[in-house]
């Protein structure tokens, strides 16, 4: 076992192979990372929902949801929003730069429970990352049969702020998924998707709650209004799955920072059912 695997604080060395600008505001970039050592790639075995700590030696670390699916075997994808010192350093980087990755960390979406079910995905803004991972995973030929109907609703402030535009185009053509896109306001550019906030469009679409699990990721305010909408549609608290974010450092449940009540977002989460969250204080 390599030294890095025995010591959970040591990042695996990776190289930035490619950087894609995701939005018009140019503050969201997707980084394609490649492992330097094959044994690290092998050790980094993950499922959608998990996150990793991306490490820039000299600046620090930041946790990001893994945007790539394990079916995309040769690389990892992370979409990073420019907010602070580490993300600024990442945004200023060029392909070829060596950085580090620690992970995979946290729990996954409940793939055991999702077997054989219909899946509804509701997402807004730049929280869509781990859901990209989930959609690519489910649509993969090897996996598609394991799941029923897949419906997705993804919204952003404007068309330019939607991420993964190439993938979105592909999915709109793909019969394996029913994808609806929405923007908050009538846009200035030609647009043939919906217009309206995600919770309202959700009510309009009336997806069935029958044998369905809902994966919800978005900014706190979107979640606050989406959950009642889902409950109106008949979704139970156990069937609404959320992914939380909190400030993190170690990512392995030791530094004491990310707890919500007795649960730590980095080891007991970031994926929680709405039923589980109801038991916890609203400290997130």
């Amino acid at each position: 076992m390599s030294a890095e695997a025995k010591n959970p604080y040591i990042p695996y060395p990776v190289t930035i192979e490619d950087i894609t600008i995701e939005n018009d505001a140019r503050d969201l970039k997707t980084f394609k990372l490649v492992f330097e050592k094959p044994e690290h790639k092998k050790a980094f075995s993950y499922l959608p929902g998990q996150f990793a700590e991306v490490s820039v030696l000299g600046m620090g670390e930041s946790p990001f949801g893994i945007a790539s699916s394990p079916t995309e075997e040769d690389y990892l994808l992370f979409t990073v929003k420019l907010t602070g010192t580490v993300t600024q350093e990442l945004h200023n980087s060029e392909p070829g730069r060596k950085i580090g990755v620690r992970g995979p960390l946290g729990n996954t979406f409940p793939w055991d429970r999702m077997e054989g079910k219909n899946i509804l995905i509701v997402s807004g803004g730049f929280a869509f990352t781990t859901l990209r991972s989930s959609i690519v995973y489910m649509l993969d030929k090897k996996n598609r049969d394991r799941f029923g109907k897949i419906t997705a609703l993804y919204g952003a402030r404007s068309p330019g702020e939607l991420m993964y535009k190439e993938a979105l185009k592909e999915w709109q053509e793909d019969s394996g998924i029913d994808l609806t896109l929405t923007v908050d306001r009538e846009p200035e550019v030609p647009w043939d998707g919906k217009v309206g906030l995600v919770p309202n469009v959700l009510r309009e679409l009336k997806p069935s709650a029958d044998n369905t699990l809902a994966l919800v990721c978005g900014p706190p305010i979107m979640i606050r209004f989406t959950i009642p909408a889902l409950q109106e549609l008949g979704f139970t608290e156990e069937n609404i799955i959320l992914s939380l974010e909190n400030r993190m450092k170690c990512g392995i449940g030791k530094c004491g920072r990310c707890n919500v009540g007795s649960k730590y977002v980095c080891i007991d989460g970031p994926v929680f059912t709405f039923a589980e969250l109801e038991e916890l204080p609203a400290e997130y």
């Binding site: 030696l57 400030r247 030791k254 007795s262």
Partner: protein, 340 residues
Amino acid sequence: MKDGVISKQDFPQFLNHLKKNAKVFAPVVTNGEAGFKEWSEEDSVEFSYSNLKLSPKGLFFPQTETILSFDAGSVEEVPSHEEKMVVFGSRPCDSRALTFLDKIFSEENKGYNDPYYMNRRENAVMISLACSDPCRTCFCSSLGSGPADEAGSDIVCFDLGDKLYLKAVTEKGELTIKDAGKVLSPGDESVRKDAEKQTAEALESMNNLEADLPSVKKNMDDSFDDPVWDRLTRNCIGCGACTYLCPTCYCFDISDEERMYKGKRIRTWDSCQYASFTKHASGHNPRKNKKERLRQRFMHKLSYTVENQGEVFCVGCGRCITQCPVNIDIREIITTFAEK
């Protein structure tokens, strides 16, 4: 050999013997204050303290330590801590506190092993000094512990005035005593009785809060949004001294220090009492008031750790009570929720 006796006068011989194979840490007065120092022959071991200002947690989990060093974007070196240590003079409450920290830093905690802490722990022999004269602010007996608690100790040492009685508690302790050979004389019935008597008297002298800890937890869990927290926390100035002195507090920060692409990633003590502890990069702060942060401290120690580690993370050492500039008293918190 399960126990040993040595006169206080000859005690440095025992420490010298231990020093041959390990670094020995013992309470020594420096700058007018007793604290754990790496012992050498010129140092005189201090016995007359009730407890030291800083607990031995800093020997295993230092205030500042290097996680890794790097150069030009690559990890260069990862420190490993294989050196042997003997820690003499930790009070039973502080040794017990280390067993709680073990539950956080070891593999027991979701399979992640913290090698920096655990290596030091595995390479250390703990010789605790049982209490003969507990302070008014000590309340270990209210938390299921006592002045001669063996948790976390390899050897428990009793200060019987002119002599010291060493009682092995673990195999490591037995080996340590056996290894000392002629430096220690074997214990006898009278010395054991003296030690027992000392412990019984010490226990007798302590006030017990008479609080049922499971009820405290239940009441705290039920009262999360109760206005009682406004009343209990309004004195707090958020100084964080309690968390730094506490032997069971372990929150830490990780940051990088570099100069011209060379540097290190360090781990430093941090405190849930600071406003920036939980502040997101977006500016959102889940615990933006002092009340929320102080409530977190008590919920963590008296409720969450019970759920996750099976222990109340307080050993009754009383340091927070003595030092708090505004006299927030954890005993009052416990009794408030015991009665509710």
